[in-house]
Symmetry: C2
Subunit: 337 residues, 2 copies
DNA sequence: CTGAAAGCGCTTACAG
DNA sequence: CTGAAAGCGCTTACAG
């Protein structure tokens, strides 16, 4: 069933059918519109979007790009990533776009995908290749959105949350509950995002006249395993440290586990705050207090800005949005007062 | 940069370039192949897949369909779903296919997607519409894979795991640890999948001469909230029940929480086994013993069978694969001996 | 081994 | 308000 078939049935030209479908109603009489629509409905006609894409040089396909480090990784197991994708897909669909998900190993793969399908826009998730992205970007002919990047590039939609404030809030919360020996867990060096969060930790200490102690920084990857190591090490320090902040919920959970393995009771002897406020937080014992970065809003904003750019064709100024964060209180912090 | 451009640069016809690209090497001389490939590489030429799709009436696009109950749901927050998608995307990419993710509210939306893009195959995730799927299926012109379905339809690739065995193993494990008052938590009625699992529970009881007690069945949705309700109710029964099995990890976690809220210590007073063996299981206290259904293998098999069907064009006999399950021991079950 | 022609299903100017 | 023509970038027979 094609345009041509519909046109023949309706006794009009293909053009007229096309105009009806594309809502160019000023070019067709009301009577014809109704007749054509009836036939379309009757036949269950659906336009072939490959053909449309071929003429329009646009596809209504948005590529969600997941960059990977190693070939065996499944990044969709990461709840942060998958929640994003779910939200983006929904928003795209509502706006008449299609979602192509693609994992890549090198930046140039993106160009291939773009050319292959005339992709209208790209959303990068988990951009491991941020350093090389600055070279790639000028050659991309479509709008691009990215998250949590500190790249200052033209033509880039960048949605991140207030990372410094996030750890500031966490650390401040500990201080307000009487803690002054507060560990920071994350290997923040050489990572803009984590460094920003580290600065929030420093800021809270500074504002409250608590000296910064380098030995309270535990430079492990903010993963479950990294958290366990940090937790064990903290426990081995004989009650010096009473609280720990970190940059990922999963790491906070690891810290609690590591501290327990080291003989601590949690949260009695060690208070912990996570980051991301994943659903996970409510399933742990104690339930994890965490910094919420409103992942849904992040995904939504990126999508909206991207579609706006596609529609208007304006593609120049960088868009940088910083989303507010907040602390979600649960049970993993104890007051020392 | 199109086929035509490449052809002109190489001084051959478009056809020849096409043959080189599509590996029809018996139709082109080695010398021409090399020349054309060099130019393709030099120009960074990538074929336009919309055009190819238009002529071939095939797209190399596979649709991953996520059906939803209500409009505000984000099914990708479900780790079972998102892990599947990640695995499928990877396998498709390796085989030269593209992944289009699409959530739908009614089965007929699938047909639209199919026609829109000449989708080569469909994978249904979380098929809420199983009942209406039997009507839909005959009208789908491409191979279809689905999970956990009990539909016996021709033309359907159905991957599920041994659900009965899953709950049989869980219940047996409880029995082997000295439990005989074992609760089953899930509203299994009118749900083939859950009923199958319920049968496994019954089977284990029967084989061990433990009487089945209807009052040990807690007919709540196997969600976190449902689990909490079941846990509370179990705790209110004054130590009658010493163990609980269920059909989802998240529900098991809820049961532990509910039992605690009801004054129980877990696992001392109540042993619990989950289902799915999500990563989550290792983050709870106690770490959750669970039935593993090898989600990755499920996703992989569905993809492989689907691609095989697409390639061979054979599209008749239903494929039913039942994947084995196993129990993964952690700390949520205590021995009464 | 190579090529000219026709066609996939649509849309965009351009004419009337 | 309506339509005939050309073209998007590719592939499939068909000829040579």
């Amino acid at each position: 069933m094609t345009l041509k078939d519909i046109a023949e049935k309706a006794g009009v030209s293909m053009m007229t059918v096309s105009n009806v479908i594309n809502g160019k109603h000023n070019r067709v009489s009301q009577k014809t519109i109704e007749k054509v629509n009836a036939i379309i409905k009757e036949c269950g006609y659906v336009p072939n979007l490959s053909a449309r894409s071929l003429t329009n040089k646009t596809s209504n396909i948005i590529g969600i790009i997941i960059s990977m480090d190693n070939k065996d990784e499944n990044l969709l197991e990461n709840p942060y990533i998958s929640t994003m994708i779910g939200t983006i897909e929904k928003e795209l669909r509502i706006n008449g776009y299609y979602t192509m998900v693609r994992s890549i190993y090198q930046n140039t793969d993106v160009i291939t995908l773009l050319k292959n399908w005339n992709v209208d826009g790209i959303i990068f998730l988990y951009p491991n290749f941020q350093d090389t992205l600055s070279e790639l970007l000028p050659s991309l002919p479509c709008p691009v959105a990215i998250f949590d990047s500190y790249l200052e590039l033209p033509n880039l939609i960048n949605i991140r949350s207030d990372d410094q404030k996030g750890l500031y809030l966490a650390t401040k919360y500990m201080i307000n509950h009487g803690h002054s020996h507060i560990a920071f867990v994350a290997d923040y060096e050489n990572n803009f995002l984590l460094t920003e969060r580290f600065q929030g930790y420093r800021q809270a200490l500074r504002e409250n006249d608590i000296p910064f102690r380098p030995e309270y920084v535990f430079s492990f990857t903010p993963s479950y395993e990294g958290g366990i190591q940090a937790g064990k090490q903290i426990a081995s320090m004989q009650n010096m440290i009473t609280a720990a902040v970190t940059t990922a919920d999963i790491c906070a959970i690891g810290i609690m586990e590591g501290a327990r393995l080291g003989g601590y009771r949690v949260p009695i002897e060690l208070s912990v705050i996570g980051y991301d406020n994943l659903k996970l937080c409510q399933y742990t014992v104690p339930k994890l207090t965490s910094i919420s970065q409103n992942i849904t809003q992040k995904a939504l904003l990126a999508t909206k800005f991207l579609l706006e750019r596609i529609r208007t064709g304006s593609n120049k100024a960088p868009i940088h949005v910083k989303i507010d964060v907040e602390i979600v209180e649960r049970q993993s912090v104890i007051s020392l007062f």
